[in-house]
């Protein structure tokens, strides 16, 4: 099959051009306009009953500009000419208000203007698949899971999004992008005597999400994995609690994806480092003096932030960010050394870079772009999972996130997973329940002594990353293969 590409246009493009022109004529020294049309389809079931069959659409335009050296942003759903002009004027007034309490005028790193189009590569448009087919598939999963004795609740879900985005800037950029996102998964829950155990496939947070078409749903092998997940949920009810102590910890790639998200992805956001997020998400232990000096992890650890399509169909894959900067691949940790941040046109000069590495994204047309993780991934190394288990004398193997928490500078973390197994003398032993592990970020990554090869590597989608005020939800990508960390504190939640 060939990847599909769509050519498209906006009927309101002339309005966006007028908004841009109005902003400049009113005194903006820089302005950009994002015009967005989006749609989503959500289907969900619980115990044989549909719990969601929703379609949502939204359209609107956001104008971001600099006036008197300060930022203003205004957005509207009303795409009448009169209102779009009024919104440009409002953005100017907001920028002038910002200038009342500003120390230094904003300066942007240079970026060459570009006129181009970019689309998510995909094979099957998920919106072309009938509701009947999608619902019936979810009910098949539901029915198969409820056949397993001891299962109390089965939840299934599918979610699809499409977005058309036009970016225009006063510097002359015109960028059209077309995104498709697909996601699906299921959860099975078992109860007994006040205990509740859960298994999620292929991941928690609703499953796996990628910038792909409906082909993702076929690749996930959801139905094939129902018996294993359901049986594990039931078995967990009678499993012993995870033993407490320092163990060699092996994480599956999905849990490691979230570990990367929380303890690498967030602290490398340069706006956070510079204090922009101090009132809500917090700051970062990666102060500017740490760049090129901190031994973040062991020499095996190589982390990149890669928004290019060549990295894979991650939720952080795009052609251009919301400042019109092309997608890039940036080394973050190389051979264990901390070597890079995620930056924007405003923040790049703070680390003596003359160009943004292209990570600014907004949740929708009505929000300001912020530095967001793209695909922040741990690159694979050598060795199979079987060899990893064989080489472990006294360890714990954990799968699928259940809880996650980290301090506001991203040092002290605690994660819980749905399931674990003891590893004794190179063999996977008994199942354990309610496992948690905790530690401090640099110590943890420096304890990494094994990362499996590319055959075990998966690019996971995290659809629910929150940042900013007002809080914006963003999808991020995290590639990882199973890895081992020596002498980590593990225990049980009880």
């Amino acid at each position: 099959m060939q990847m599909k590409e769509h050519k498209y246009h906006f009927t309101s493009e002339s309005l966006a051009q007028e908004a841009l022109g109005e902003a400049v004529s009113l005194g903006a020294t820089y302005a950009d306009v994002r015009l967005i049309e989006s749609g989503s389809r959500a289907l969900a079931t619980k115990n044989g009953v549909p719990t969601s069959l929703d379609f949502e659409e939204s359209q609107g335009l956001g104008i971001r500009l600099l006036c008197q050296g300060a930022w203003g942003f205004a957005a509207t759903h009303d795409l009448s000419k009169e209102n779009v002009i009024r919104t440009a004027f409002k953005a100017i007034k907001i920028a002038r208000a910002s200038a009342l309490a500003q120390k230094t005028p904003v300066k942007l790193a240079q970026e060459s203007p570009i006129q181009t189009e970019w689309s998510t590569p995909y094979l099957i448009d998920p919106f072309s698949i009938s509701i009947d087919e999608q619902l019936n598939f979810l009910f098949q999963i539901d029915e198969a899971a409820r056949k397993i004795k001891g299962i109390s609740i089965v939840e299934t879900q599918m979610h699809f999004e499409k977005e058309k985005k036009l970016f225009l800037s006063s510097e002359g950029s015109r960028i059209l992008q077309n995104f498709i996102t697909s996601g699906a998964g299921f959860n099975v829950l078992a109860f007994k005597g006040g205990d509740l155990q859960k298994r999620s496939y292929p991941n928690s947070f609703g499953g796996q999400y990628q910038r792909k078409g409906y082909e993702l749903i076929h690749e996930l092998k959801l139905l094939e994995n129902v018996p294993r997940m359901a049986e594990e949920a039931v078995q967990l009810l009678s499993a012993p609690s995870c033993p407490q102590g320092e163990k060699d910890l092996i994480l599956d790639s999905s849990q490691l994806g979230l570990q990367i998200h929380e303890s690498v992805g967030h602290p490398i956001e340069l706006d956070r480092v510079l204090g922009s997020e101090a009132n809500y998400a917090g700051k970062s232990f990666l102060t500017l003096d740490q760049l090129h000096h901190l031994q973040y992890g062991s020499p095996l650890v190589h982390v990149v932030a890669d928004a290019t399509a060549s990295h894979g169909p991650g939720l952080g894959t795009f052609g251009f960010d919301d400042e019109g900067v092309p997608a890039q691949r940036t080394d973050i940790i190389r051979e264990g050394h901390f070597v890079g941040y995620l930056s924007s046109r405003e923040t790049a000069p703070a680390i003596h870079e003359n160009r943004s590495n292209g990570t600014m994204r907004a949740e929708s047309w009505n929000r300001i772009p912020l530095i967001r993780m793209t695909n922040v991934s741990l690159l694979p190394q050598a060795g199979t999972f079987e060899e990893l288990i064989l080489s472990t004398r006294d360890g714990i193997y954990l799968e699928t996130n259940r809880s996650w928490s980290i301090d506001d500078r991203r040092l002290n973390f605690q994660f819980g997973t749905e399931i674990g197994w003891e590893i004794k003398n190179g063999k996977k032993g008994r199942m354990v329940k309610n496992p948690i592990y905790w530690g401090m970020t640099p110590e943890f990554w420096n304890a990494c002594d094994w990362i499996c090869d590319a055959n075990h590597w998966t690019l996971w989608g995290t659809p629910n990353c929150g940042k900013g005020q007002p809080c914006q939800t963003m999808g991020t990508g995290h590639g990882a293969s199973p890895a081992r960390f020596l002498a980590v504190n593990v225990g049980a939640s009880h």
Partner: protein, 446 residues
């Protein structure tokens, strides 16, 4: 409310006329939202947006589906109505789906203030100069927000139900930071922007930042804690779904089979009451059922749950007006918590404490065990050691792992309930409290 009635009725009429479904429900909302954000003692982000949302739910027998749009022209509304009809006709039956409610009577609440709606970016900019100047005078860095919004919301259905709500909301919060690890935080939100004491909050945060300089490290362990209202509020957030009738029916609630039992200490009483003078929110739920005042926990005993139409029918109970918009998988929850308090002031709690910790707020709280209600999270922006009735040193931040059952069985003193703001949910009415044997499991480096 006149503008809302006229706007929504026009939309309701267009959709109801176009719908071929057995029953049709429309949610209409119109929002205007503005926010000024500052950091490093200057404004760095500043925005305003306007949006509408029209959400159409169609029913054919026990089949239902919802579509949502922000396009308001008649052609788009007709198209989306037809799509809603089409999706509902394709869906499978939900045996628990009940007919839409008939017209209801609502108690009035007043949560809309013109001055809050009309607050301009320039007004907010002048307001945030206050914390910036306070920070500069104490050699601190300040960050924070000042926002204002107006939301008009209406529900209409084909049985003639009409429900209207208008609400403004303004919120100010600030974090003050010193160069030596110290930080302080304060936040307050209200429908009436003039009730927000910006200077008082900024001074409070700055004083904590100064007091927090050079924190000492204490070992993890069990401590008596004095939790300020924001800390209490953010913990309570993780218990709300457990009071839902559906959660209990499905046995996923920590309160399953505990109704009538003593779950907390005798000094704990919790209500859900949208009509409380310090509360916010619409007086009806996602289906338009009027919200009732419900006593959830009385003197430690689990008294009542909250119900949507559907879960009430399944549990042989009456709906309480706490259901989410249909379809959903969560059922319902009490969102207007009022926790009764006592008459011990924060100052008195400190004076009555031989050794303990004062906690300003928690951060990144997550549920570790849903049935034991064990939560984990961090302290943040003002944690202090109390010895011999006095605040001594600032303390490096701790990670806690604590069961809410354990916490609310160990409360020794309660303050006066206040409207509190946190970061895990909406504003609610809770007191400060003092509790013994709170579990801290590790500390961090600052």
């Amino acid at each position: 409310m006149k503008i809302l009635r006229e706007k929504s009725e026009h939309i309701f009429e267009t959709i109801l006329k176009a719908s071929q479904a057995d029953e049709t429900e429309i949610h209409f909302s119109q929002t205007a939202y503005s926010l000024t954000r500052f950091a490093n003692n200057e404004i760095h982000q500043n925005m305003g947006d306007e949006d509408v949302e029209i959400s159409i739910r169609s029913c054919f027998g026990k089949k239902t589906a919802r579509v949502t749009t922000n396009k308001t022209d008649p052609e788009s509304l007709k198209k989306m109505t037809q799509l809603s009809n089409h999706l509902a006709s394709l869906n499978h039956e939900d045996p628990h789906l009940l007919p839409m409610p008939k017209p209801q009577k609502y108690e009035g609440v007043h949560h809309a203030y013109e001055k809050t709606d009309h607050m301009k970016a320039e007004t907010r900019a002048h307001a945030v100069k206050v914390p910036i100047q306070i920070a500069q005078s104490k050699n601190l860095q300040s960050a924070g927000i000042f926002s204002n919004s107006f939301t008009r919301f209406a529900i209409g259905n084909s049985k003639g139900l009409r429900a209207y709500s208008e609400e403004t909301y303004a919120v100010f919060s600030t974090t003050m930071m010193s160069n030596s690890s110290g930080s302080g935080w304060a936040k307050f939100g209200h429908s009436d922007a003039s009730k927000i004491p910006v200077e008082t909050l900024a001074l409070e945060a700055s004083e904590k930042a100064v007091l927090s300089k050079n924190p000492i490290e204490l070992p993890a362990g069990t401590y008596t804690v004095i939790l300020e209202p924001s800390a209490v509020l953010d913990l309570l957030e993780f218990m709300l779904m457990d009071f839902g009738g559906l959660s209990v029916l499905e046995q996923r609630s920590a309160f399953t089979e505990k109704r009538g039992q003593k779950i907390f200490g005798s000094n704990i009483t919790l209500h859900d009451n949208v009509y409380h003078p310090l509360q916010s929110g619409a007086p009806f739920d996602g289906e338009g059922i009027p919200k009732q005042k419900i006593t959830l926990v009385e003197k430690g005993i689990l008294k009542n749950l909250v119900y949507s139409q559907s879960s009430a029918h399944r549990a042989n109970a009456k709906p309480t007006g706490h259901g989410f918009a249909i379809p959903n998988d969560g059922g319902e929850a009490p969102l207007n918590i009022v926790m009764e308090g006592g008459n011990t002031s924060l100052k008195q709690m400190i004076e009555n404490t031989n050794q303990g910790l004062l906690i300003t707020r928690f951060w990144y709280i997550r549920e570790v065990d849903p049935m034991q209600k064990i939560l984990t999270g961090m302290t943040r922006d003002g944690t202090f050691l109390i010895e011999d009735g006095k605040m001594r040193d600032a303390v490096k931040n701790f990670r806690f792992n604590e069961s809410l059952f354990h916490l609310f069985n160990n409360v020794e003193e309660l303050g006066e309930p206040v409207r509190a703001s946190g970061e895990e949910g909406i504003d609610r009415v809770v007191p400060a409290l003092k509790a013994k044997d709170f579990h801290f499991t590790s500390s961090t480096k600052y």
